[in-house]
């Protein structure tokens, strides 16, 4: 735009639209996420939040509009290509490799990032640097003690964190978490929120998450975007959003603490 010194936003979505049958699930959505922002996307059920994530990460192809990552168009690319460009995503319904150990779950992601996956002869676990890195990532999510366990046998909260770890192993610049707290007990939530904030700070990530838990959303976000029925209703600081009439009517229905 005017100031050529500012780097392009990490993620920019322009007039993004997607319809299923006759229903517009994503309706002309536009926003830009600056580097380093910790932001949330909220909205009532069926607002199209996960669909938005799917459009950004390549699982769905938009009917109209563009998605730009660091100034480069990525709409239409495959999820694998987009992941390689630097977007890591965690899933609402836990998406891990269940009959593999916790370590193997993260290790394959590290090896993929390092483009070592065509190697046929050496044991994967013999790649010392990759293994060390995988364990470090597990440690940032407090999972390193369970490295040898089967992912499918972990309690739900650990599986959700493993899901995040697999995404982090890609060393992404943009991390997208879809309801990272879903199904967790209050204690687990607090732990996980702290972990997420710590990781965001230490790795200087841009982090975007979908959440329903308003304490979490208003607790850590710098910026909030509200989706309702496929439309971007409003965006702003937590304070602004909590006072926004439309948001309150559409979604919250009662007063909330800031």
């Amino acid at each position: 735009m005017e100031n050529t010194q500012t780097p392009p936003p990490v993620l920019e979505v322009r007039r993004l639209s997607k319809a299923f049958g006759g229903l517009k699930v994503t309706n002309d959505v536009s926003f830009a996420i600056p580097r380093g922002e910790l932001s949330a996307i909220i909205g009532p059920n069926g607002a199209g939040k996960t669909t938005l994530f799917n459009l950004i990460t390549g699982k769905l192809v938009p009917d109209a509009g563009e998605v730009l990552f660091k100034g480069e168009r990525i709409d239409g690319l495959s999820p694998a290509d987009i992941a390689r460009k630097g977007i890591g995503r965690a899933f609402q319904i836990t998406s891990i490799f269940k009959e593999r150990t916790v370590l193997e779950n993260v290790l394959v992601s590290v090896l993929s990032r390092e483009k070592k996956t065509a190697r046929l002869f050496r044991r994967a676990t013999a790649y010392g640097d990759a293994v060390r890195e995988a364990i470090e990532i597990l440690a940032t999510l407090s999972l390193e003690a369970k490295a040898g366990e089967m992912a499918g046998s972990l309690p739900h909260g650990d599986q959700k964190r493993l899901d995040i770890a697999v995404a982090l192993a890609l060393n992404p610049e943009l991390v997208m978490l879809d309801e990272p707290m879903a199904g967790m007990s209050p204690e687990e939530r607090t732990i996980t929120v702290d972990l997420i904030r710590k990781i965001w700070k230490e790795k200087a990530l841009t982090l975007l998450f979908i959440e329903h838990d308003m304490d979490v959303v208003f607790g850590i976000s710098e910026w909030i975007r509200v989706l309702n029925q496929g439309v971007l209703l409003a965006e702003g600081t937590p304070a602004e959003i909590s006072r926004n009439r439309e948001v309150i009517t559409a979604y919250l229905g009662e007063e909330i603490d800031e």
Binding site: A80, E99, V108, L111, S112, T117, F121, R123, A124
Partner: protein
């Protein structure tokens, strides 16, 4: 992970190798023959399991590669075009090439449709071999395939097969443990997530098909050498079914499972063959029983029972693991 499991594995390998090495010393020609067949089918099954147990792709058409491998050896040798030492490695090239042609077509669809496509294209290959009388000998097949002097006699051929097969097992093991193998297993567990970690899933699925085809063709070539003949039955869909049965009987998630399954099935088929021509109903019955009562494979299920019994005995205060 770790040294203990590594040592346990070495023991398994040593025991397996020793068992097979000792068979001829038992004196009976019949044992050597059966051992040879088990080795060949074991290789075929292990190659199949690379696709099914490791990558999660159920192919019902591996017989095409097995048969094409057998015919490569059979045709090259009977027409005097090449020696066995050239023909056998050639099987791997031919098997891989066929997979490169058929694979991309089959991978276009997933799930049951993938399975059915593998069957359909295998039937097509069988049909071509069956009808191309002038080239392949059609329904008669080709008999009297000459073997090199160095491999004359069942004993020599047996040990040759043993060496080739176990070398292939070692290769397969390396592949499964490698980063490439880790990706294949991720694809089995969660193909969508594997894409999201930056992997071009289809490419790896095709690679798995090629590797599986290579080992199947090698097994076919070894069988042609053992049998001194080739026949379209080697490409018949029941051959594809047989190798699936061997893998699920032995257990698809254990490395030597398919080999053990091969041993059991070869033995059973031999027994059944002596008493009745109606072998399909027995094989079908065994498969039905496995599917309903032993979904983890018979050997896999016994393994679980034994582990549970051991754990129950040792750690009565800890909860049993599923």
């Amino acid at each position: 992970m770790g040294a203990k499991r590594r040592r346990e594995e070495w023991v398994q390998w040593a025991v397996a190798l020793a068992l097979f090495a000792v068979v001829p010393l038992l004196g009976k020609r019949g044992f050597v023959n059966m051992g040879n067949e088990i080795l060949v089918m074991g290789l075929f099954a292990m190659g199949f399991n690379l696709l099914y147990g490791v990558t999660g792709m159920l192919s019902f058409g591996q017989a095409a590669y097995y048969g094409v491998g057998a015919y490569t050896v059979g045709l090259l040798l009977s027409k005097g075009v090449a020696s066995f030492w050239v023909a056998l490695p050639a099987t791997m090239v031919v098997g891989g090439a066929l997979a490169l042609v058929l694979g991309p077509l089959c991978i276009r669809l997933s799930g049951v449709y993938f399975t059915m496509l593998t069957l359909a294209f295998a039937e097509m290959v069988w049909g071509i071999v069956f009808k191309w009388y002038d080239f392949t000998g059609g329904d008669n097949g080709i008999q009297g395939i000459p073997m090199p002097e160095a491999l004359h006699g069942p004993l020599r051929y047996y040990y040759f097969t043993l060496a080739v097969v176990f070398a292939s097992f070692w290769l397969i093991r390396r592949i499964v443990d490698s980063p490439f193998g880790a990706v294949l297993q991720s694809i089995r567990e969660n193909p969508e997530r594997t894409g999201f970690i930056g992997v071009k899933v289809r490419r790896y699925q095709l690679a798995a098909m090629v590797l599986s085809g290579v080992f199947a063709a090698l097994a076919g070539g070894l069988f042609a050498g053992y049998q001194h003949s080739i026949h379209p039955d080697m490409l018949h869909w029941t051959k594809s079914g047989e190798v699936i049965l061997m893998s699920i009987l032995g257990g698809v998630s254990s490395f030597f499972g398919p080999l053990m399954g091969a041993a059991v099935i070869v033995f059973i088929e031999d027994m059944i063959g002596k008493y009745t021509e109606f072998w399909e109903i027995w094989i079908g019955g065994i498969m039905l029983a496995i599917v309903i009562f032993f979904p983890r494979g018979v050997i896999g299920t016994f393994d679980t029972w034994i582990t549970r019994w051991r754990n129950h005995g040792k750690h009565a205060d800890t909860a049993a693991r599923p």
